[in-house]
């Protein structure tokens, strides 16, 4: 369903050209569970942003469910981002003046459901990440790991079939982190596609496939022998 061919993403800074991604090719099918790993600065978030239609490659092509993303109009792109993909950002990107509940309800505004139903859905998503007792808190009234969990709930509230999570457990203790990975595992068992960027080998062992980046290139792309 996701087909990347020769993807290059570069930045020109004065005299210098930085290759965030260099000639990356990979294909992902429906219902895969992939971990993306690699050193700090190796291009993982850049790759996630291109897969999530939030960034455009400088060269190469990306097809989403058989259609070239470069040929889609704004409405089609918005449709993918709002309904097909749930994105957990490495920096959370919560609205600072809205409560946890309001932040999680936001993606449902486009769904056409009643206000009551949206609120129920949002509370359910927050409960799934053990945040039901903090729904009236704004981001600056939450701990780092609590903000991370609100960002996860917001990504999952529309029940997207493709989940892109950029280091979703970076601010969580082991026990809470394992609960989140358990949540992703059940979503995977329901037929969804899970792509997680992680630094932690413990988290990566749950994935069925591991892709390792180094300096903007794919260093390794293997089936996980432990799964």
């Amino acid at each position: 369903i996701l087909d990347l061919k020769g993807i290059t993403r570069l930045y020109r800074m004065g005299e210098e050209t930085i290759y965030a991604l260099r000639e990356v090719s990979l294909s992902l099918s429906q219902n895969e569970y992939v971990a993306i790993m690699g050193p700090s600065g190796s291009g993982k978030s850049t790759l996630m942003n291109i897969i999530g239609c939030l960034d455009t490659p400088t060269h190469g092509s990306y097809s989403f469910e058989g259609e070239k993303v470069s040929r889609m109009n704004d409405r089609e792109l918005a449709g993918i981002r709002n309904r097909k993909i749930g994105f957990v950002f490495q920096t959370f990107n919560l609205l600072p003046r809205s409560t946890a509940l309001q932040n999680v309800e936001l993606p449902l505004i486009y769904s056409g459901e009643s206000r009551r139903k949206r609120e129920d859905r949002a509370i359910e998503a927050l409960t799934d990440v053990s945040m039901a007792d903090r729904i009236t808190h704004k981001p600056n009234e939450l701990s780092g790991g609590q903000r991370q969990r609100v960002a996860i709930a917001r990504a999952l509230v529309t029940k997207p079939s493709i989940i892109l999570a950029d280091e979703p457990t970076g601010n969580l203790d082991t026990k809470t982190g394992n609960e989140i990975i358990g949540l992703f595992e059940s979503l995977w068992e329901e037929g969804n596609t899970i792509i997680i960027v992680t630094h932690e080998e413990d988290i990566a062992t749950h994935a069925a496939r591991i892709i390792r980046l180094r300096d903007g290139e794919v260093e390794e792309d293997v089936v996980n022998p432990n799964r």
Copy 2:
């Protein structure tokens, strides 16, 4: 040098009172190496902010080098924050419109040194965290782990004797994270005091003492048997 007695930090939210910290007492001596652990939301960042004179407790007393912090004036507090303590924030808090170099130079503005010397010091600090090749980048032109390293360099550039690091490796791969912990270890061997909040047992094993929080209280405060 740091003496906390009966520290409580609470927040009133409508009908509810949230105890971020409840009756926390602990003493830290010069040249200790302490890891603070505990579940998400257990009060670790709140404790760090009080130790770093960035937040005031609701009850209890805190003495810094023998003097009650509650009796210090703004100038004395600023002196502690700018010269004695280096703080790595869980959310980095970099200035978005300044480059990595400018962000790391900023704490030196008060030092009275020449512009040339400040720049040399900042480049040295950025080199210590392997960020010498990104000094002209602004935060939004850096990866998550690169921003984290700029925040670390900024905390260390004034050569403070007390280093407070709130999850300094949360966005770093294992190898880069170990380099940062190695850096903290050498600073410890030079006689400085290191306090690290971390979720990772691997990181905590390097500390000489481990303090565990749960629901705003000290659950455990032990010498690390592995060290």
